[in-house]
């Protein structure tokens, strides 16, 4: 059996302190602003989606590599696998949020006073169907993530290489269903905040953001574990490829962002431009900071080979990308729900820290339960001797 991550008391206490500190900050924030509902629920939606992205993006990462019979990632594949175990928890939180906070965030859910446009959309945007879809998404994601992880864990005890084939089957099913569910879920949870507005590229845009978040999270976990002395076989060649991913998908994110922006800018139809109008007028600083953090900094920092092979620059870039995409989600959610009053205060930071603590608590525990690499994986040797 391979080496395992030692989940010590220190890690657990640290994560618990994060959760406790975050909740205290949250309560303090609530007392200060003295207004419970909208801002709290908007932040829970934001952070829930952000940390769901970390979990869901990692299972996408595994699925596409399984499908491509790729070998280089097998040395550290247990990290995204462990990250994906957060999906059911995010599902429970999302369900709680929908039950208690739905009417504060989604104005289409006030069924008694719908305008003609929203009446036209009520075939899709209605409360029962919203719940059905929400449950469906999380059942699909949790089950397939569980089975993909389970087949991978099975290799520890059973050296039969045919298990990989099973994993590929699950991955294929997951990729197809994910393509549909991610678009639909981003409409449901994020785009329907501005219920009158729509954008056909929105699902893609959210998905690429999600994948970027997961990559950055994966890189940070890998660097953390490498600094602790685990993963001796993972070297700068693996980081080089992860860096290429982060670099490439940052550009792709910008491409989709701009595709959405330019068409709306060019067509100049009021019902579409209202989206960017609200964001540029009320949040000009965050609006441009988002582009700098999500695109410009990773683009310029990760361009050279040396930077991708260096753990420090990769860690800096990952943190920058994570902050950038948090702001991206903030820019998507806040103007439509909280409006002009939204700003980043103690409440926002508190909830984020609490979520981070919860995420670390779950992921590190699940990571420590199993060996850090599956020694029986058919491609593990390829990964250890990998050269870019």
């Amino acid at each position: 059996m391979g080496e395992r991550f030692q989940y010590s008391k220190k890690h657990k206490t640290f994560a618990l302190i994060l959760v406790g500190f975050g909740i205290i900050c949250m309560i303090a924030g609530l007392i200060i602003i003295n207004e419970v509902s909208v801002r709290l629920w908007a932040n829970i939606l934001l952070n829930n989606f952000f940390f769901l992205s970390l979990a869901l993006g990692s299972i996408v990462f595994i699925a596409i590599h399984n499908l491509g019979f790729s070998g280089w990632q097998t040395a550290f594949q247990r990290i995204p696998e462990a990250m994906s175990t957060f999906i059911p928890y995010a599902g429970i939180m999302m369900l709680l949020f929908t039950i208690f906070g739905m009417h504060d965030i989604y104005h289409w859910s006030h069924t008694e006073d719908l305008d003609p446009i929203l009446q036209g959309k009520s075939g899709y945007l209605n409360i029962p169907f919203h719940y059905v879809r929400l449950c469906l998404y999380f059942i699909i994601w949790s089950l397939l993530a569980f089975y993909i992880r389970k087949t991978s864990l099975k290799m520890d005890t059973d050296p039969n290489p045919a298990i990989l084939k099973r994993s590929t089957t699950f991955s294929a099913i997951f990729v197809v269903l994910f393509a549909i569910t991610i678009s639909a879920s981003s409409w449901d949870w994020l785009m329907s905040i501005d219920a009158h507005w729509y954008s056909t590229i929105f699902g893609w845009y959210i998905f690429i953001g999600m994948f970027n978040i997961a990559l950055a999270g994966m890189i940070l976990f890998l660097i953390f574990l490498k600094k602790k002395g685990y993963y001796k076989e993972v070297n700068e060649n693996h980081f080089h490829d992860l860096g290429k991913y982060l670099f490439g998908f940052s550009i792709f994110w910008m491409y989709l962002w701009f595709s959405q922006y330019m068409l709306i800018w060019y067509a100049n139809i009021p019902e579409e431009t209202i989206y960017f109008n609200a964001r540029l007028d009320d949040f000009p600083f965050l609006f441009f900071l988002n582009l700098i953090l999500c695109f410009l900094i990773p683009f310029l920092l990760l361009m050279s080979t040396g930077a991708k092979r260096n753990m420090t620059t990769m860690a800096i870039c990952s943190v920058v990308v994570l902050i950038g995409h948090w702001i991206d989600l903030y820019i998507i959610i806040m103007p439509g729900s909280v409006g002009k009053a939204a700003n980043i205060g103690i409440l926002e930071i508190g909830i984020t820290i609490a979520y981070l603590g919860l995420f670390l608590l779950i992921v590190l525990r699940n990571l420590s339960k199993k060996p850090l690499a599956s020694e029986n994986h058919p491609f593990i040797k390829e990964s250890y001797t990998y050269e870019t």
Partner: protein
Amino acid sequence: MEVKKENNIHMEESYILALYDDEEELLASIKVIRNAGIKIRDVFTPFPVHGLDKALGYKPSRIPIVGFISGAIGTITAFLFQSWVFVLAWPLNIGGKPFFAVPSFIPVTFEITVLFAAFGMIGAFMYKSKIFPGRKNKIYHERITDDGFVMIIDYDKFITDEKRKEIENYLNDGGAFDIDFVNIKNIE
């Protein structure tokens, strides 16, 4: 000029060619031979082999730097040119947009950046490796043009038999299935 040409035709270069049929064997063999202090002139493979540059001890390519600089020139050129055209030279009212409409410049700027970077890199590569239309190639071995992994070592005619045997042994141990000694007329 005539004299020089004649000289060139008579100048011959000798090489040892070692043929392999597996890239892993080739890589291992390169390491052994370089450790023994024998200089490898070149290696030909039918597809890119990962780690070959490092095994041969090549310095990192400077092509990316050329790419970045020519790309940056492309960005600036395209942006300035469009600004000049649409603001100063021929302002047109298109859909009521301002003349200096940055979002509409970006796709063209992006394309010109890619074009300049690509042309810059290809140009620099062709210049450095002296590739140009009408150039006559040295064909060291027929298999180079097909599926052969061929390692080329400079062969000095005055080399001692011992040294020659040593090189041959290294190559045979490394898995070379054929070793040739060839003379190629230097056409250039």
